[in-house]
């Protein structure tokens, strides 16, 4: 199965890497926002994209174009993200291209779903929270990345 796994640098990326047992039998392409993260996913394809800093529209545009380009090129069957904005863009473009889309809201969102997570609920095929008390009919709890 061709999978695209996408997350911004920092906590989002570290959480994505904790899903590695899921990826080991699949053809996975990783996307993140800093080139030196490549070393953490040796043996897999890795692509760097510009980050979409909130407030800077030009960065958001660059990020959307870049994510779209790579999704069209990679043609993944599944897109999975642990956040943040670039991941949400990946989910949106993935949905438009017919991929199965999965959003895992960061474990840091312990009191409410993130802003991106709330948008993902409307788009993604599956949305997971990592806190049981935040689960509802549209948001699944099935353990966490710890």
């Amino acid at each position: 199965m061709r999978i695209l796994a996408i997350a911004s640098i920092g906590g989002h990326w570290i959480q994505l890497l904790r899903l590695m047992p899921l990826f080991k039998d699949h053809e996975v392409t990783f996307i993140s926002t800093k080139p030196n993260l490549k070393d953490m996913v040796k043996g897999h394809r890795f692509i760097t994209i510009p980050d979409a800093n909130r407030g800077k529209k030009i960065n958001l545009c660059k990020c959307i174009l870049s994510v779209t380009w790579h999704i069209v090129a990679v043609k993944p069957r599944v897109i999975i993200s642990t956040g943040a904005a670039p991941g949400l863009i990946g989910i949106l473009i993935g949905k438009l291209t017919g991929a199965k889309t999965i959003w895992i809201d960061s474990i840091a969102n312990a009191e409410k779903l993130s802003m991106s997570g709330n948008i993902a609920v409307k788009i993604a095929d599956r949305v997971y929270t990592q806190w049981e008390h935040l689960a509802n009919s549209k948001v699944i709890f099935s353990g966490n990345i710890l």
Partner: protein
């Protein structure tokens, strides 16, 4: 060695200033400090703006204690490496983050008993002085990957 890390996104001067005060009181201790460029200039150590993933792992490995913002990257790394960690959450009212999720994270992990939490700079100073080094032990260790229930749920959905 004490490894202080505050992420790569925004400054966290309230933490760095407190660490500088602590470092001034403990001249024999080595501090490796990473922080996004800030207005505050530390007197007792150099601040590294960005460190590579390899250097991050190496400092994490060598550290006797981690002090950090309540960012999940650092928290997860410390729990995997079984290192003692004190987190101090970035707060919205000081514009240290866009929302209050670090406070929520700190409270939840504090309630789980997984890490040491200082809710402000005074508590950080007090905790360090009273607890260093003997009472600052790792409180919880985690494995290398997500819970089986999450992985199984994802596997079933993908295939």
């Amino acid at each position: 060695m004490i490894f202080v890390t505050t992420g790569t996104q925004e400054p966290f001067d309230r933490l760095i200033e407190t660490i500088d005060d602590i470092a001034g009181q403990y001249p024999g201790l080595t501090f490796v400090v990473q922080a996004f460029s800030s207005l505050y200039k530390a007197k007792n150590f150099d601040v590294l703006e960005f460190i590579s993933a390899a250097d991050f792992s190496s400092y994490m490995d060598k550290a006797d204690l981690i002090i950090s913002h309540a960012g999940m990257g650092t928290i997860i790394s410390a729990l995997v490496e079984n290192k003692p960690i004190i987190v101090m959450p970035r707060l919205l009212r000081y514009n240290e983050h866009r929302n209050e999720h670090q406070l929520a994270t700190a409270r939840k992990f504090d309630a789980l008993g997984y890490l040491h939490v200082a809710y402000d700079e005074h508590e950080l100073m007090a905790k360090f002085i009273t607890m260093w080094p003997d009472q600052l032990k790792p409180l919880h260790k985690i494995g290398n990957s997500a819970s089986d229930t999450l992985l199984d749920s994802l596997r079933t959905f993908i295939e």
